[in-house]
């Protein structure tokens, strides 16, 4: 019998960046085919920020001092809502195991998955945040500060969350445990994010808390994918 293929030690192995790009493309395609999962955290964010004035006061001068805190708390909870799904589907259908056995760096591949998670939740939240902020009394001049703080802050939230998602991978209904694990680590992000937004709403300079947010995002970028990959490997055993 004649072999129809050739075996190769190294073959035409793809670079890590190409593998990561494929991972992003796959997850984006899957997300747009399952739109309900995509819309859920955004709807949750919209509901919280819409219900808040109904429960407190419709007066903008009353709402304005609370706007940053409300928008940020809603963004954090919405981001958390989507985290449970970050690795779960891939673990259940065996594709995560295949990525772990692909010979490519699992750290890179999980970093790509986390980047996609941010593209699908963090970025839309950052784009929705000014609308929520303005509905709570934030001036139009604060839009860049609001978008910036949520955009950078949610990068840190996604990265920190990826560690929790990896650690709770083997646990059924892991939502509560995931929140318990990640919320304490996410509090600094909430504090600096809300502070930056608050200063932007007040028309003051918000560079200092933004730098801290940026530092948290960079710290997450350097450590979280490594920790998430180690957690996933343990759970795959």
């Amino acid at each position: 019998m004649r072999a129809e293929w050739q075996i190769s030690d190294t073959g035409s192995a793809v670079p890590a960046l190409t593998a990561a790009r494929l991972m992003v493309a796959r997850d984006l395609k899957l997300a747009f085919r399952k739109r309900s999962q995509l819309v859920q955290p955004l709807a949750f964010f919209a509901i919280i920020t819409t219900l808040f004035p109904l429960g407190v006061s419709p007066e903008l001068p009353v709402l304005r001092p609370m706007a940053a805190g409300v928008v940020w708390a809603a963004a954090l909870l919405s981001s958390l809502l989507a985290l449970e799904l970050l690795f779960r589907d891939d673990a259940q259908d065996g594709t995560l195991e295949q990525y772990a056995l692909s010979g490519r760096s699992l750290t890179w591949l999980l970093a790509a998955k986390t980047a996609t998670h941010w593209l699908l939740t963090g970025l839309p939240l950052a784009l929705m945040a000014p609308l929520a902020g303005m509905a709570l009394g934030a001036p139009a001049a604060a839009v860049p500060g609001i978008v910036g703080s949520v955009a950078v802050g949610t990068v840190a939230l996604s990265l920190i969350g990826s560690i929790g998602a990896g650690l709770t991978l083997g646990i059924r209904r892991s939502g509560a445990l995931l929140s318990l694990l990640t919320l304490p680590l996410e509090i600094p992000v909430l504090i600096f994010g809300a502070r930056a937004m608050e200063l932007a709403i007040d028309g003051a300079a918000y560079g200092v808390p933004m730098r801290f947010l940026g530092a948290l995002a960079v710290l997450g970028l350097t450590l979280a994918p490594l920790a998430a990959a180690a957690a996933v490997r343990i759970n795959l055993e």
Partner: protein
């Protein structure tokens, strides 16, 4: 002939209090297929997962080309393909898209190669259908197409004929034969004997401890 060889020596592994693998050893070289048999719970899947580095043995070692697989796990993984009980496919992608993303992460792959692989497993008619609409046997065939596209020397297959009809079971035997012919080696966990040519075939039965 290449120096491809997978060996296990005195491998011990526990699952909690259960001593699943008790001093297991084997040696498989290029062009050879080792069929693992045994009753449910005897440790076939555990041995396969240990052999591919997913499970850590408490004792003994697994070597690939004479080196402990733990020495460079990434390099070892780049040379193996593992198929577990369930075909590793995304339900919302088509069979073709699944192969593109699954195999594409490992090696550059052309659309024509995917077409040929799907054709080989009889998948022309359902290649562009979402996997969730496929039968269990068609999903297994799509996974087998992915296996052939990997172009790696070592195949680790857990019950590769599950859900396949008689013709599909014959196909698995043919694919393994072609793989061995190309210089590869295979380790398979089976309940029913695979239809592979006798040359190079080894059998090992695991028993309950």
């Amino acid at each position: 002939m290449s120096d491809y060889r997978l060996a296990a020596e005195n491998v011990h592994l526990w699952r909690g209090d259960h001593h699943v693998l008790r001093g297991v050893g084997f040696r498989v070289g290029a062009g050879e297929c080792l069929q693992l048999t045994g009753v449910n719970g005897a440790g076939k899947t555990t041995l396969l997962r240990t052999a591919c580095g997913l499970a850590y043995p408490e004792g003994g070692e697994i070597t690939w080309r004479g080196e402990n697989i733990r020495k460079d796990l990434h390099a070892f993984h780049a040379q193996l393909a593992y198929l577990g009980h369930e075909p590793p496919l995304k339900a919302d992608l088509t069979a073709r898209e699944n192969l593109h993303y699954w195999v594409g992460v490992r090696r550059r792959i052309e659309r024509q190669e995917i077409d040929r692989a799907l054709e080989r497993v009889g998948g022309e008619g359902w290649a562009d259908r979402p996997v969730r609409t496929l039968s269990a046997g068609q999903k297994r065939r799509a996974a087998l197409a992915g296996l052939t596209l990997m172009r790696v020397p070592l195949w680790l297959l857990d019950e590769p004929t599950t859900n396949l009809d008689t013709e599909g079971q014959g196909l698995v035997g043919e694919l393994i034969d072609e793989h061995l012919q190309a210089g590869g080696l295979a380790l398979t966990a089976v309940h029913h004997e695979l239809r592979v040519s006798a040359e190079g075939l080894q059998r090992m039965e695991l028993t309950l401890g």
